[in-house]
């Protein structure tokens, strides 16, 4: 596949940061980082036209390794921050990145309500099934029997069935990718960014240091693209079945489900309908004569 390095006056070089990456050798973050830059170039989005929001975790170290407007905030909280940014200025594409620890433990409530609110943002889940930056503790998505730093006997809790959970929330966009497949990730990101509402993108990510159970090789051997099986992305039940299917032999990847019929949160805000300006452009001292009338 040919990846254009220069599109509409924006190039990969524009997104290059002088800061050196600090991830482990073989970390899946490199692939996600590359695909993110590529999709922005291919969409002709310049670094100043986008806001990339990062949670806290290994992936968050991308925040200063990519030359764009970025934000690096608190653990578990990236989704509401990104959503707040988006509703203030819907003209700016907003992509939020977060790990499985942040998104399925600390900030799981935000994920639930992001799906429900259908915020017009993209959420990329860096899913390496463990807490990497705090040196390899089990997350809710770690396989239960795996010995991890905080659970040498395996977790006493069950693994959270993340895809079943997401599908139970009536999502409007669900995709799964693999950090070793950059061209496919780029395709997924492109559709996610163009999606009307909240795009949930689960990237299965290798973590060579702490995740010994779902390695790069393990994922490489199993991932296939549902496009090759003629999957209909508008078929909710089929998508859910693919997403929750046993992954020991084959792992379905690609855009699994998309529903463009559901309005996003901003479209549902009655007072904003028909407005040409954004909240950012409307900051001025406002007259309140009309408001006072009610109290006279």
């Amino acid at each position: 596949m040919k990846i254009p390095l220069n599109q509409d006056g924006v190039s990969m070089q524009d997104y290059s940061s002088e800061n050196l990456c600090t991830w482990c050798s073989g970390c899946g973050d490199y692939g996600i980082w590359s695909a993110a830059k590529q999709v922005l170039v291919e969409l002709g989005i310049k670094p100043w036209q986008v806001l990339l929001c990062y949670d806290v975790g290994c992936h968050g170290n991308m925040s200063d390794k990519i030359n764009a407007y970025t934000f690096h905030g608190l653990h578990g909280r990236v989704i509401p921050f990104a959503a707040g940014a988006k509703i203030a200025n819907p003209n700016v594409p907003v992509i939020a990145f977060g790990g499985d620890g942040a998104s399925f433990s600390e900030g799981v409530g935000h994920l639930v309500h992001a799906v429900r609110s259908n915020y017009p943002i993209t959420f990329v889940l860096h899913n390496n099934a463990n807490y990497g930056l705090t040196t390899g503790q089990a997350s809710a998505l770690t396989w239960q029997e795996q010995a991890m730093n905080s659970s040498p006997n395996g977790m006493p809790e069950r693994t959270l069935p993340s895809m079943d959970f997401i599908f139970s929330l009536q999502p409007t966009f669900v995709a799964r990718g693999f950090s070793g497949n950059i061209p496919q990730m780029k395709e997924i990101f492109m559709q996610a960014i163009k999606h009307r509402g909240f795009a949930f993108v689960d990237i299965l990510q290798s973590c060579p240091t702490y995740n010994k159970f779902a390695s790069h090789k393990y994922l490489l051997d199993r991932c296939y693209d549902v496009k090759d099986d003629n999957h209909n992305v508008n078929d909710f039940e089929a998508a859910r079945a693919l997403a929750v299917a046993d992954t020991s032999e084959r792992i379905a990847t690609g855009v699994l489900y998309q529903n463009e019929e559901v309005p996003n949160l901003y479209e549902n805000l009655l007072p904003r309908q028909g407005r040409k300006t954004t909240a950012v452009e409307e900051v001025e001292i406002k007259k309140i004569d009309e408001l006072m009338k009610e109290f006279i």
Partner: protein
């Protein structure tokens, strides 16, 4: 100062508020300054509640602990609130066959209180109207007792129920006429005499502190409001939501307080004016976000409506117990601004300033209010809309300036006042990372010792430049604000909603001419104490008035300038200072 008060008690949902609201608005329109005060419990139906109106021809912003007329919707009021009536006052009730216990009977006689039973059930039956109209009947009775114009009342009722159709209005009128007639037949009931009205109040607003604050928020150009319901902050969310179709503001009820704080922060980063509002427990959840904004140097505005804690505490009552929380909350060291609102005037005036300071200094701003302000009803002159400023500090929006800006300008540690340039994602300029890890000038993570020192010192320089730009506390005497510092026999110091009770006490007849000053902090942190030091050293006595256990403002003052305040008038039972109560606590100091 001439003041009278009327109080209505009853079960929540029984119509206590509607009597209070109609009388309050009506009296305001007749030319009175009215202050409305509600007490209720944390439940929806059945709990015991009250609505009190304190009425004067002069500015009045506090309640008395005993009223001239008390109307009880049910017998609970006759038990719990019997002694809330003044000597020589009137009790009205509608509890059939009620017999006062002997002790109460004696109390009523000793205090020359007249109790009148109004046979509401029979009257409603006779009038053949729905039960709910008993409220309008009782309102009209009180209205007649206050010797107010029946036509004015009818006009108000017509206005309030216009949307319900002529039939409903006519039934209301029928009740009004019947009540007036019934009142006229009570030959032994004296009229309650009000002072002469002052027409200046007629066009004033009768407004809650929350609506006042909401208008201030809208006026300030806030365009995104995100909140999670929590008493007593929810009335602000309700007001902003209710008016959203008029104002066009983006309102989001978040799934929790952390979300609310984060969404506000995201909107602020993009360049909108955004805010969130909560109470103590919710603010606890927001504090990590307060800290985050400090490091990314993002303007942020948090309204904290206080109620008594700890824990869920007294959810529907008032307090000033979260001052130290505001000043000390969230991890790490960073500059912040804490503002304390006091009434419907500065609930409006200070909101634009909250946003201005947040943007000028790129810091978190915490705006303290409390249940008393949030739900108190003030008679408020219409707001001056020409005074508020829009100050956005070093925000760059000009295209030519954006062209030359460097990524390293964002957190440039060499800036003298600690405030570096800020520009917005989505604008064509050099990009930067809004970095929540310690970072260098352009937001690259940097853990070096040199950088940590440089950036900490940069941020903390803002504390000094912020402090330099804040006004000293405001000084009042019984005539109002005074600019000249003078010698006082008694200097009262305080902040927040207690100001209202203090100023009302200063206006009481036997204190008016005494040498008493009141020093009020609107800007609580960083705290300025120069004026205080000067005034307190020349005053004979200094007294701290606060609605908390520890005297938290006093602690901050001592921390800042080392000065102890000897006398403290503190209250921490969830009730505001009543004017007569405060008067009696100040009196021994004179």
């Amino acid at each position: 100062m001439n003041r009278i008060s009327i109080k209505v008690t009853g079960a929540q949902g029984q119509g206590v508020n509607s009597v209070g609201e109609i009388c309050g608005m009506g009296l305001k329109r007749s030319g009175y300054c009215v202050f409305g005060y509600r007490e209720y419990m944390s439940l929806i139906k059945g709990g015991h509640s009250s609505y009190q109106l304190d009425i004067s021809d002069e500015r009045i912003e506090s309640s008395e602990s005993r009223s001239d007329v008390v109307l009880h919707f049910n017998h609970h009021g006759l038990k719990k609130n019997l002694r809330d009536v003044k000597d020589g006052g009137i009790i009205l009730h509608q509890t059939p066959m009620w017999e006062f216990p002997e002790e109460d009977e004696k109390w009523l006689t000793d205090h020359n209180v007249k109790a009148l039973y109004i046979p509401m059930e029979d009257i409603i039956k006779e009038l053949d109207v729905p039960n709910i109209l008993g409220n309008i009947y009782l309102t009209s009775f009180v209205w007649a007792l206050l010797n107010q114009s029946v036509d004015d009342l009818k006009n108000l009722v017509r206005e309030q129920f216009a949307h319900k159709g002529e039939n409903i209005i006519n039934m209301n009128f029928k009740c009004i006429d019947a009540a007036i007639e019934y009142f006229a037949a009570q030959s032994d009931l004296n009229l309650v005499s009000l002072p002469k009205p002052d027409p200046k109040w007629k066009d004033a607003l009768y407004i809650t502190g929350s609506a006042a604050q909401g208008m201030g928020v809208v006026h300030a150009g806030c365009r995104v409001f995100v909140s999670y319901p929590m008493t007593p902050a929810s009335p602000l969310l309700t007001y902003i939501s209710k008016t959203q179709n008029q104002t066009g503001i983006v309102v989001k009820q978040a799934e929790d307080e952390i979300t609310a704080a984060q969404m506000m922060s995201g909107s602020m980063l993009m360049g909108a004016r955004a805010m969130t509002a909560t109470s103590g427990g919710g603010f606890d959840l927001m504090t990590e976000t307060v800290s985050m904004n400090a490091l990314i140097e993002n303007p942020a505005v948090f309204a904290l409506a206080q109620r008594p804690g700890p824990s869920t505490g007294l959810p529907t009552w008032t307090a000033q117990g979260d001052l130290l929380l505001s000043v000390g909350s969230a991890h790490g060291e960073f500059p912040r601004l804490v503002i304390g609102l006091s009434n419907s005037q500065d609930a409006f005036d200070l909101m634009p300033e909250a946003f201005n300071f947040a943007e000028e200094f790129q810091i978190p701003v915490i705006v303290l209010t409390d249940k008393h302000i949030a739900e108190g009803l003030y008679t408020q002159q219409q707001y001056d809309q020409n005074s508020a400023e829009l100050r956005r500090g070093k925000l760059i929006t000009d295209t030519s300036k954006l062209k030359v800006v460097q990524s390293t300008d964002r957190y440039d540690p060499s800036v003298k006042d600690g405030v570096s340039s800020r520009w917005l994602p989505g604008t064509e300029a050099a990009v930067f990372a809004s970095q929540g890890d310690e970072h260098d000038a352009k937001g690259t993570v940097n853990e070096s010792s040199e950088n940590a020192i440089e950036q900490m010192e940069k941020r903390m320089r803002k504390a000094q430049s912020l402090k330099d730009s804040l006004p000293e506390p405001v000084l009042f005497n019984s005539d109002g604000v005074i600019s000249k510092d003078e010698k006082f026999d008694l200097l009262i110091v305080g902040w927040g909603s207690t100001k209202s009770a203090v100023l009302d006490v200063l206006k009481s007849d036997d204190l008016k001419d005494k040498s008493i000053g009141y020093l009020h902090w609107q800007y609580l942190w960083p705290i300025k104490t120069d004026r205080f030091e000067k005034l307190s050293s020349s005053a004979k006595k200094v007294v701290l008035v606060e609605q908390n256990y520890q005297g938290q403002l006093g602690m901050l003052i001592k921390m800042e300038c080392g000065k102890d305040i000897d006398h403290k008038i503190l209250k921490y039972d969830g009730r505001p200072f009543f004017s007569d109560e405060l008067y009696s606590r100040i009196l021994p100091l004179i």
